[in-house]
C-alpha cells in the first residue's frame, strides 16, 4: 500500500550547524539541502562524528540550525524562528523519535509509554489506551502491555519505542541508530517495522544506521562525511520490495 501523492514532508535548504566559537568552533553540519517524501525510508550513513545526530536534532526541532530553512509537514521552520510552544506542538504532532536505547520512561508501563505520545497532545485516556493496545498487539507485544521497561528485552523495548514514535501518525520519524543494541535478526525486524510504518502511514522515516545488512530495506541512502551530506546511488537489488 503506497501513498499515491508521495508529497514532500521534509524539505531542507542550506541547513548548517556550527557549534562553539573561535578555536572551539566545530562546523558539524555544512550547508545541506535535501527532501524526503511521504512513505520513504531514508538511511543516513557515515563515520562517527560526521554530524548525523546533529542533522537529526535539527530535523527534530530540538536544535536550531545556524543557517538555512526547514519545512516539516505543512509548517515552515526558518532557522527555528517559531516560538517554543509551537515547536513543541510540531514535535508532538509531526515527529516521532527512536534512539539507540533508553527510549522509554522507566516508571511507565509499555502501554503507558505509548499512550504518552497521544496524551501529551490531549487525546483522552480511553482513546489512547485503545489505540496503544491495538498497535502493541500488532507488534506482537500483547503480553507485555503492563511490563515496565526494565522488564522488557532489548528488542521488545525497541518495538515499544517504535510504537510510541508511530502511534500519533507523525509525518516524520527520526531514528538514531535504533538497531545498534540489537542482534542482526532483531535489527532487521526493526527496520522492517519502519518500512511497513512508512508505507502504511505515509511517514518519511530517516534512520541513522551503521548496520549495512539492513540497507536492502531502505528506499534511499544518504551519506554523511565531515558534515557534508551526499546521496548515494542506489545499490543494485536494494530498495523497496513489492508489497
Amino acid at each position: 500500500m503506497t501513498e499515491p501523492a508521495r508529497r514532500t514532508v521534509v524539505s531542507a535548504e542550506n541547513l548548517s550547524k556550527t557549534y562553539g566559537e573561535g578555536a572551539l568552533r566545530v562546523e558539524a553540519l555544512k550547508p545541506t539541502s535535501f527532501e524526503a517524501r511521504a512513505g520513504e525510508v531514508v538511511a543516513i550513513l557515515g563515520p562517527s562524528g560526521s554530524g548525523k545526530s546533529t542533522l537529526l536534532t535539527i530535523l527534530g526541532l530540538i536544535n536550531a540550525p545556524t543557517t538555512g530553512s526547514l519545512r516539516i509537514g505543512e509548517v515552515q521552520v526558518i532557522e527555528n524562528a517559531l516560538p517554543r510552544t509551537s515547536l513543541e506542538r510540531q514535535r508532538r504532532q509531526q515527529i516521532g523519535f527512536v534512539f539507540q536505547r533508553s527510549n522509554l520512561i522507566p516508571f511507565l508501563t509499555a502501554e503507558e509509554n505509548v499512550r504518552l505520545s497521544l496524551e501529551i497532545d490531549g487525546v483522552n485516556a480511553y482513546e489512547s489506551r485503545k489505540r496503544a493496545r491495538a498497535l502493541l498487539e500488532n507488534l506482537g507485544l500483547d503480553k507485555r502491555l503492563l511490563s515496565l521497561p526494565a522488564k522488557l528485552s532489548g528488542g521488545e523495548a525497541q518495538r515499544v519505542a517504535i510504537a510510541r514514535a508511530l502511534i500519533h501518525r507523525p509525518s516524520v520519524v527520526l531514528a538514531d541508530e535504533p538497531t545498534a543494541s540489537l542482534d542482526s535478526s532483531r535489527g532487521r525486524q526493526v527496520m522492517e517495522l519502519f518500512r511497513d510504518a512508512a508505507h502504511a502511514q505515509g511517514a518519511a522515516v530517516l534512520v541513522v544506521t551503521h548496520d549495512h545488512r539492513t540497507l536492502d530495506l531502505v528506499d534511499r541512502i544518504l551519506e554523511m562525511e565531515d558534515g557534508r551530506l551526499t546521496e548515494r546511488a542506489r545499490a543494485p537489488g536494494a530498495g523497496r520490495s513489492p508489497a
Binding site: R92, Q93, L116, E119
Partner: protein
C-alpha cells in the same frame, strides 16, 4: 493526561514512603514545639484559673506567691471577709517539696493548702475520688504523681490518704500539685523536730524572762493593756477574695489597696505575671527553635525534591523531546512535592496523636496549630517544588540523544 507524578512515586513507593516518614518526624517536632508551648501556657496558669478567685491579696509591695515570697497573716482572711462586697475569702499557701520516694526516685511536687472548710477542693479538676471531707490527713493529688486512690502518703511527720485525684493540676513549673487543708500545709511547712521544738520553747521562755513582765511579774497587773510577746500563728502566702455578684472587682481592689499592709491583684494580673514571668524565656526559646526546625525542614524538603528531580532528568528530557508542554513537567514536579508534603503532614499528625500524650509535660495541639502546620507544609512543599522545577526545566532533549 495520565498522572505521571503518581506513576513515578508508585515505581519507587518504598523510598517515597520512607522519605515522607522521615520528613513527617521532623514536622512532628515542629508540632511538638507548638504543643509544648501551648501546654506551658496552660500549665502556668492552671492553678489560679482553677482556684478562680477574683482578687489575690498578697504581702504589701510584693507581686505575690507566684513571683516571690509573700507572707500575710492567717487572720487577714477574716479581716477581708468583713469588707462589704466580699463574698468569700480563702487563705492560700503553697510551697515546693522535693524528696526521694520509697523507690529511690526523686519526687518533686507543689503542695497547696485549701481553706478548709470554705474550700474543700470542689473546683479542682477531679478525675477520681472526692474533695477533702476532713480538715486533716486527707490529700488530693494530681494523677501525674502516679499515686492511686486510698494510697498512703507521708509528708513531714504525718501520713495522708489520697482521697481524690486531679488531672492536669500542675504548678507553673510543670510539677504535680497536692492539695491538703491550709492547717495541714502550715503544719508541714513549719514542721519542726522534737529538739527544735524544745529549743524554741526554751527561747520563748527566755524571751519572757527578759521582758519587763518577766523581770517584774507584778508589773503585769499594773499594765492596762499588756503587750505580750505573743506567738503569732505562721503566715500564709495570700488570701483569695471572691467578690459578691454584681460588685466590681476593680472598685473593691482600689478600696483594698488603701490598706497599708497588702497589695491586691486581679486574676488577670496574676495570669499575666505567670505567663510573662515564668514562661517568657521558654516561649522565645521554643519559638526560635521552631523557626529553625521549619527552615531545616524546608531545606531538607528542597534537597529531597531536587534529588527526586535529578533522578528523573532523563525522563524529563525525553518528555521535552516528545514535545510535552511545560505544564506537564510543572505538574509532575509540583504534584510530587505536594504529595510528599501531604504525606509527611499526616505522618506528623499521626506521630503527634500517638506520642504527645506520653510526654512528661502537657503537649497541647489545637486544630488551629494543625492548620498552621498545614500552611507551613504547603509553603515548604511549594518552595521545594520550585527548586525541583528549576532543575527540571533545565533538562535538555539533547541528553536523550547523547546517552
Amino acid at each position: 493526561m495520565m498522572d505521571l507524578a503518581v506513576r513515578d512515586i508508585r515505581h519507587d513507593l518504598g523510598r517515597f514512603v520512607l522519605t515522607a516518614l522521615g520528613l513527617g518526624m521532623l514536622l512532628s517536632i515542629v508540632l511538638a514545639m507548638t504543643g509544648i508551648y501551648n501546654g506551658m501556657v496552660v500549665d502556668a496558669t492552671v492553678l489560679p484559673d482553677t482556684l478562680g478567685a477574683d482578687l489575690w491579696v498578697v504581702q504589701r509591695d510584693t507581686k505575690g506567691p507566684f513571683a516571690e515570697s509573700s507572707r500575710v497573716p492567717l487572720r487577714l482572711a477574716e479581716r477581708l471577709r468583713a469588707v462589704p462586697g466580699v463574698s468569700r475569702t480563702r487563705s492560700y499557701v503553697s510551697f515546693n517539696v522535693q524528696r526521694t520516694g520509697v523507690d529511690g526516685r526523686v519526687q518533686r511536687f507543689m503542695l497547696a493548702g485549701l481553706s478548709w472548710p470554705d474550700d474543700t477542693g470542689d473546683l479542682l479538676l477531679l478525675a477520681q475520688g472526692r474533695s477533702l471531707r476532713a480538715p486533716h490527713y486527707e490529700v488530693v493529688v494530681d494523677v501525674s504523681l502516679g499515686l492511686p486512690l486510698d494510697a498512703q502518703l507521708s509528708i513531714g511527720r504525718d501520713v495522708f490518704s489520697v482521697v481524690g485525684i486531679t488531672s492536669g493540676m500542675v504548678s507553673s513549673g510543670g510539677d504535680p500539685m497536692l492539695f491538703v487543708s491550709v492547717a495541714d500545709a502550715l503544719n508541714i511547712q513549719n514542721d519542726l523536730s522534737n529538739e527544735a521544738l524544745r529549743l524554741e520553747g526554751e527561747a520563748r521562755l527566755a524571751r519572757v524572762r527578759r521582758s519587763e513582765y518577766g523581770r517584774d511579774p507584778a508589773s503585769l497587773a499594773r499594765a492596762g493593756q499588756p503587750r505580750l510577746p505573743a506567738l503569732t500563728p505562721p503566715p500564709v502566702n495570700a488570701v483569695l477574695v471572691d467578690v459578691q455578684p454584681g460588685q466590681d472587682p476593680v472598685a473593691l481592689r482600689q478600696r483594698l489597696e488603701q490598706w497599708p499592709d497588702i497589695s491586691v491583684y486581679t486574676l488577670e494580673e496574676q495570669r499575666a505575671l505567670l505567663v510573662r514571668g515564668v514562661i517568657d524565656r521558654a516561649r522565645r526559646q521554643i519559638g526560635l527553635f521552631r523557626t529553625l526546625l521549619v527552615v531545616i525542614s524546608a531545606i531538607v524538603m528542597g534537597l529531597i525534591v531536587y534529588t527526586m528531580t535529578l533522578d528523573k532528568m532523563h525522563s524529563l528530557a525525553l518528555l521535552k523531546l516528545l514535545g510535552a508542554r511545560r505544564g506537564v513537567i510543572l505538574r509532575l514536579i509540583l504534584e510530587q512535592s505536594m504529595l510528599l508534603g501531604l504525606l509527611s503532614f499526616f505522618v506528623a499528625l499521626l506521630i503527634g496523636e500517638l506520642l504527645f500524650g506520653h510526654f512528661p509535660r502537657r503537649v497541647l495541639v489545637a486544630d488551629s496549630d494543625r492548620l498552621a502546620l498545614a500552611g507551613v507544609v504547603a509553603g515548604i512543599s511549594g518552595a521545594a517544588g520550585l527548586v525541583g522545577l528549576r532543575k527540571a526545566l533545565s533538562a535538555d532533549p539533547n541528553q536523550v540523544l547523547a546517552s
